[in-house]
């Protein structure tokens, strides 16, 4: 398939400037990045360097101020709100603070992206249970987020991110809010997904050790890519 040659992410001189009142904050100052299908990339950098900003752009949550960002070959700068929403359905995003919907139980949280993408009730229920089984939480599927530990919530968030069979998974500090034992569990799960299901992974972290679990490390410093190396 020719699609194989299209990188899942292609950033060309991407800049992002936030306006803080009248003061412009340059969060990204011209980023060039190419992520191929099946890659496992760690984005490493100090706080405030622009990691989350970059991840949000790749997740189609925001548009670059300038430059070109292609997701699966599509320039997101040219998409309208509806098209961006459609694109997001096929991107798995795992947030730093889990961001589960508190009033929904684990299964309903995992079903949510599928109900957004118009999948029928029976099918999404089945898939949600399968996904929760994959992340080892089948027994907890009727629990609300508040009744789950941080690591468990993070795994529900991963299951949710996988709901619509995304080409790639974006994780913003997936282990930032869990202990090291849980962190290595979560990382094991991510590696398994990457190896067995060939899901491309882009993971933001500022933990060197964790970053080295990936097969590629991209270092961000002050809104620019300072290093791009094989781990």
């Amino acid at each position: 398939m020719s699609v194989q040659n299209v990188p899942v992410v292609e950033a060309l001189n991407v800049k992002k400037t936030y306006m803080l009142g009248k003061v412009p904050v340059e969060a990204l100052r011209g980023v060039n990045l190419r992520v191929e299908q099946g890659d496992f990339v760690s984005i490493l950098g100090p706080s405030g360097s622009g990691k989350s900003t970059l991840l949000n752009l790749i997740g189609a949550l925001d548009k670059p101020t300038s430059g070109t960002l292609r997701i699966d070959g599509v320039d997101i700068g040219k998409l309208n709100d509806n098209q961006l929403a459609n694109l997001r359905i096929h991107i798995g995003f795992v947030f730093q603070f889990f961001n589960l919907i508190p009033r929904l139980n684990a299964r309903d949280n995992v079903e949510l992206p599928m109900s957004i993408s118009n999948i029928g009730k029976a099918e999404r229920k089945k898939r949600a249970i399968e996904l929760l089984e994959t992340v080892g939480l089948k027994e907890r599927m009727n629990h609300k987020p508040a009744e789950l530990s941080g690591g468990q919530q993070q795994r529900v968030a991963i299951a949710r991110a996988l709901a619509n069979n995304p080409k790639f998974l974006l994780l913003d500090e997936p282990t930032g809010n869990v202990d090291s034992k849980t962190a290595s569990d979560v990382l094991g799960l991510i590696q398994k997904l990457n190896k067995e299901q060939h899901v491309s992974i882009i993971m933001v972290t500022h933990d060197e050790k964790l970053a080295h679990q990936a097969n590629r490390i991209v270092k961000v410093f002050d809104g620019e890519i300072s290093a791009d190396m094989v781990s």
Partner: protein, 433 residues
């Protein structure tokens, strides 16, 4: 996102804040209940009055009165004015012959003189309205002018009178005061001379009317006392009459218009010619105004409820900013976010309107019962007690209108918060603490 899933999601959001949703819904309930109660009572009243008027006024009947007499003064059931207008114009009993020749469409004419007075025996005294009519012609025009006991004497003796059923049986409880043949004193206070004097003559009850129910202008009344026209003229010392009833051979609009105009012209426009259709349309107009007024007041309370909805939605929007960010990050379209928020208010509006309609109807029934407790049979009552048995009426229009209005107001006031929610940018919403 599918409609049913949008609805489920809206519902789960409402369930989370039960008390808040309940209070918001209460606002809608009160507004809708007020609207439904007021409208079903006034519509019931209108239906009752219209029904009663229809009994008393057939479509092919015209009523001719001196212009300024109008409906004022005497009113529907009580004694009508003095028969003379402020301009000095008067209708006379013998004008009937003149009117009868005006059009071949005229079937019959009858003059009515009415005066207040009282009837009495040794153990009975009652204020009544006397109606002087030609018994034969009056009975022809009004089939309800029919005796239940005794008979309508045709031609009547000078001293014979006919009384309405409630004159005979004021309590409507079976206690009757007269049987045909009984003597009765007919009195009035003659104020045309100074000092006024009490004038009385002794009459005989020839018949008691069947129950008429309702009332109409000119038509037989349960509280009326009917005296032969000749006797009335001599007793009250007048040739003037209060109204002339004209019946037509048909009730076509053109006939009604043409004859009305011919009569008005004949008396140089100093008479008012009332067609029953005109009375009914006047009644409809009056009631529409009343309903608009009362409905408007009630609607204001619903608007207040709408503001409550808007307030709650804005609070909810702020509380759930992060949630909206998550939904959008998961690929939810703006219009689905809009639908979720509107869905919440539609649910509140639907529940509020449904409960409100039920409550309003219950309220109308209770109020009608309280108002009607002085009356004895539903739908029909006398006009002396002042109490009407109102059967509240909930028309499909009011029912659907209330439902639509409740839901509509809920939607309109939720539009702005819902729109704002839908316009949130996912990154901004996710950063919101």
């Amino acid at each position: 996102m599918k409609g049913i899933d949008v609805f489920r999601y809206s519902f789960s959001a409402i369930k989370l804040r039960k008390l808040r949703a309940a209070l918001t819904t209460l606002g809608v309930i009160v507004g809708i209940a007020a609207i439904v109660a007021l409208l079903s009572i006034t519509q019931g009243l209108q239906a009752t009055l219209t029904g009663q008027l229809n009994q008393g006024l057939s479509a092919n009947t015209l009523i001719v009165m001196p212009s300024s007499g109008g409906f004022g003064g005497g009113g529907f059931g009580g004694g009508l004015g003095q028969g003379a207008s402020s301009t000095g114009f008067s209708l006379y009993v013998n004008n009937t012959a003149e009117i009868a020749t005006l059009s071949p469409d005229i079937e019959a004419t009858v003059a009515i003189i009415s005066r207040s007075g009282y009837v009495q025996t040794d153990d009975f005294s009652r204020v009544v309205t006397f109606y002087g009519v030609d018994f034969e012609r009056y009975a022809q025009i009004y089939p309800t002018f029919r005796a239940e006991t005794g008979s309508i004497p045709i031609p009547p003796q000078e001293d014979q009178i006919v009384i309405g059923t409630r004159v005979n049986q004021p309590g409507q409880n079976g206690t009757i005061f007269f049987t045909p043949g009984d003597a009765i004193n007919v009195s009035w206070v003659n104020a045309t001379i100074i000092p006024p004097v009490n004038e009385t003559y002794s009459a005989t009850v020839a018949g008691v009317l069947e129950k008429v129910g309702g009332f109409g202008i000119g038509g037989p009344s349960d509280t009326g006392v009917y005296i032969p026209i000749d006797k009335v003229q001599s007793f009250f010392g007048t040739e003037q009459c209060d109204m002339i009833i004209v019946t037509l051979t048909n009730s076509d609009n053109t006939t009604i218009t043409n004859v009305s105009k011919a009569i008005a012209d004949q008396f140089s426009n100093q008479v008012t010619v009332i067609a029953s259709t005109a009375v009914l349309s006047l009644l409809t107009t009056v009631f529409s105004t009343i309903q608009l007024f009362l409905g408007g007041i009630a609607a204001i309370s619903l608007l207040v409820a709408g503001i409550g909805i808007m307030n709650i939605m804005i609070v909810s929007l702020i509380e759930r900013t992060r949630e909206i960010g998550i939904l959008k990050a998961l690929g939810m379209k703006s219009r689905s976010v809009l639908a979720i928020f509107l869905g919440e208010s539609v649910i509140i509006g639907l529940i509020g309107a449904t409960v409100g309609i039920g409550l309003g109807w219950g309220l109308a029934v209770i109020v009608a019962q309280v108002l009607g407790s002085g009356a004895f049979s539903p739908g029909v009552s006398g006009n002396t007690s002042g109490a009407f048995a109102i059967t509240p009426l909930l028309t499909p229009e009011v029912l659907l209108g209330a439902l639509a209005f409740g839901v509509g107001v809920s939607i309109i006031f939720a539009l702005y918060p819902a729109w704002r929610a839908s316009k949130l940018k996912p990154v901004d919403a996710l950063r919101y603490e």
